[in-house]
């Protein structure tokens, strides 16, 4: 369980990034944190593994104040995958990259080998085992960064902009295994701008603007609210835009998925015959 209690955070340069954020995320939840650049999203999630400590207020992970434990210790529980993979990759081969943290956490040799194989398979990276991460494309490097975190099996996984630079096939794979990890009981937190990706995942959505949380609820409720969308530099989901225009014909506005859209249109056509 993550508990954020009235947290303020000011960077050394004076920028007030968080201005009184309170929030609870229970074990096994799937949450998307959205909002425009500079809203405080990344600053907030960096508090979850202790990379940043509150200027005021406190953050508790399973009841423990993040100021009382080291980042190293918190990391075992909270895995963080950065937006830019180059901020976390440094090893000579993909395999070394993935085993690095496992060695640090002092897993034994056999388990390390198993975990590395498992992660390489999961993220479609087997063919790059012996390749330098820096020879890979941006999208592939992102998957290496993800594999290296998943390998130590943290119970909370934070993904900062995971769909950036991924093609639609990789995004679908990403979606499937996020859902899978979540079903296995892991808490998954994504920070993202990718509205259509969120629509396909339907997590709890937390919307931030100017260092504060401005809305917290179900995907449909938040992402079909034109006023909230405007305040956070997002745009309405494609299908919601279609149905907002069809509102004059008596259709609901809060439609987000392709299949429900089709069902509503077919009902209208068939209902008349």
């Amino acid at each position: 369980m993550i508990e954020v209690e009235n947290v303020y955070f000011t960077y050394p340069n004076g920028v007030k990034a968080l201005k009184g954020v309170s929030l609870k995320i229970a074990d096994g939840e799937f949450v998307a944190i959205m909002g425009q650049n500079g809203a405080g999203k990344t600053t907030l999630v960096k508090h979850f593994n202790g990379l940043l400590k509150p200027t005021k207020g406190r953050v508790l992970i399973d009841g423990v104040d993040t100021r009382q434990v080291s980042v190293a210790k918190l990391s075992r529980k909270v895995g963080f995958v950065f937006q830019n993979p180059d901020h976390q990759l440094f090893s000579e081969t993909v395999e070394d990259e993935i085993s690095f943290a496992l060695k640090n956490f002092r897993f034994d040799e056999k388990i390390i080998r198993e975990r590395v194989d498992w992660a390489l398979n999961l993220l479609d990276l087997v063919q790059y085992r012996k390749v330098s991460p820096f020879m890979l494309s941006g999208g592939e490097r992102k998957r290496v960064a993800l594999a290296s975190v998943l390998a130590w099996d943290p119970k909370i996984i934070i993904l900062d902009e995971p769909t950036l630079g991924q093609d639609s096939y990789q995004k679908e794979r990403l979606r499937q295994f996020i859902i899978q990890m979540n079903q296995q009981g892991k808490t998954v937190i994504i920070v993202t701008h990718d509205i259509e990706f969120v629509v396909e995942c339907e997590p709890r959505v937390i919307l931030m603007a100017n260092g504060r949380i401005i809305a917290d609820g179900e995907t449909r409720e938040i992402l079909t609210d034109p006023e909230l969308i405007n305040r956070s530099s997002l745009i309405l989901p494609e299908i919601t835009q279609v149905f907002t225009n069809l509102n004059d014909l008596g259709f609901p506005r809060n439609v987000i998925g392709v299949y429900e859209a089709k069902r509503l249109i077919l009902e209208r056509i068939n209902g008349r015959t």
Partner: protein, 284 residues
């Protein structure tokens, strides 16, 4: 005459085992808006690097076949010559901005070419106004938001008055609203100034409405090339890794159930109009 023409173009990066792309044949006419897409690693970015001569002049490697851009064979002309005709905008604007003010950044390319001072002043102001950042001209680029920085990057390229602008995923790190605005700026450059646009994008929902042509690459080859509405009707196996807009999926899904919209929608506005028409027709 085509403004870009590739004949049997094959390129291999230094030390690479296989070519990044192979036997590319391509003709792009002046004034086209081409959307270049395909799964990660298909060779899109490599094509962009060829178009302004970064390949082979900067990257080295082995370029076979022939590429002519704005009448220049890229192997026979230096990057600075080609750059007068082709502007390249990168994914991450931070990679190309460096000056202390927006204005200086936009002027930099022209100063390098030795353009007279008055002419620089005139062109810089013009580029800043078209991209909507004239008010920001005295600010430092690194203080600006991602969307504003990307406008500075586009203005810098625009000031050179190129005939072709190549953009490699210019909106990928931007919030959706900024992304939408940047694509509108690109659309205007194409529509009002007749600049040929080559736009590399994964997400087609915001961009396909502006393109007259979509090229899909896969494993270093062109697998599809045509009008957006026609491309989206191709077999799904050919579109693996292509981000098909939800409105197109809705069109396809309705068609399975016997509801045929008049054409493939390329934007939500178009989709709602076509659905409204279909319902009217049904009523009559």
């Amino acid at each position: 005459m085509a403004i870009i023409e590739a004949r049997d173009l094959t390129y291999t990066y230094p030390f690479a085992e296989k070519p990044a792309f192979k036997n590319i044949n391509l003709r792009i006419e002046k004034g086209e808006f081409v959307l270049l897409t395909g799964p990660s690693g298909c060779g899109k970015t490599t094509i962009c690097r060829c178009l302004n001569g970064l390949i082979p002049h900067f990257y080295g490697g082995k370029l076979e076949g022939e590429l002519t851009v704005a009448g220049l064979k890229t192997t026979e002309h230096a990057i600075y010559e080609i750059a007068k005709h082709v502007g390249l905008v990168f994914q991450n604007p931070e990679n190309q901005l460096f000056a202390l003010t927006v204005e200086k950044d936009v002027a930099f390319g022209l100063e390098n070419l030795g353009v007279p001072r008055d002419e620089i002043r005139r062109r810089v102001d013009w580029a800043l106004k078209i991209t909507g950042i004239y008010e920001l001209r005295h600010r430092a680029p690194f203080e600006l938001s991602g969307g504003q920085q990307q406008r500075v990057a586009i203005a810098s390229v625009l000031a050179m008055q190129p005939e072709i602008i190549v953009l490699d995923e210019p909106t990928s790190s931007l919030d959706p609203l900024s992304a939408k605005n940047i694509l509108e700026v690109i659309h205007q450059l194409n529509r009002d100034l007749g600049i040929t646009i080559i736009l590399v994008e994964h997400r087609l929902d915001l961009a396909s409405r502006y393109a007259n042509r979509v090229i899909v690459m896969r494993d270093g080859r062109i697998v599809l090339d045509g009008e957006p509405r026609r491309i989206f009707l191709q077999r799904e196996t050919k579109l693996i890794g292509v981000g098909i807009p939800k409105v197109v999926r809705l069109y396809l899904s309705l068609r399975e159930d016997g509801v045929n919209l008049n054409k493939v929608p390329l934007s939500p506005e178009e989709a709602s109009q076509l659905i409204a028409e279909a319902l009217m027709l049904d009523r009559s």
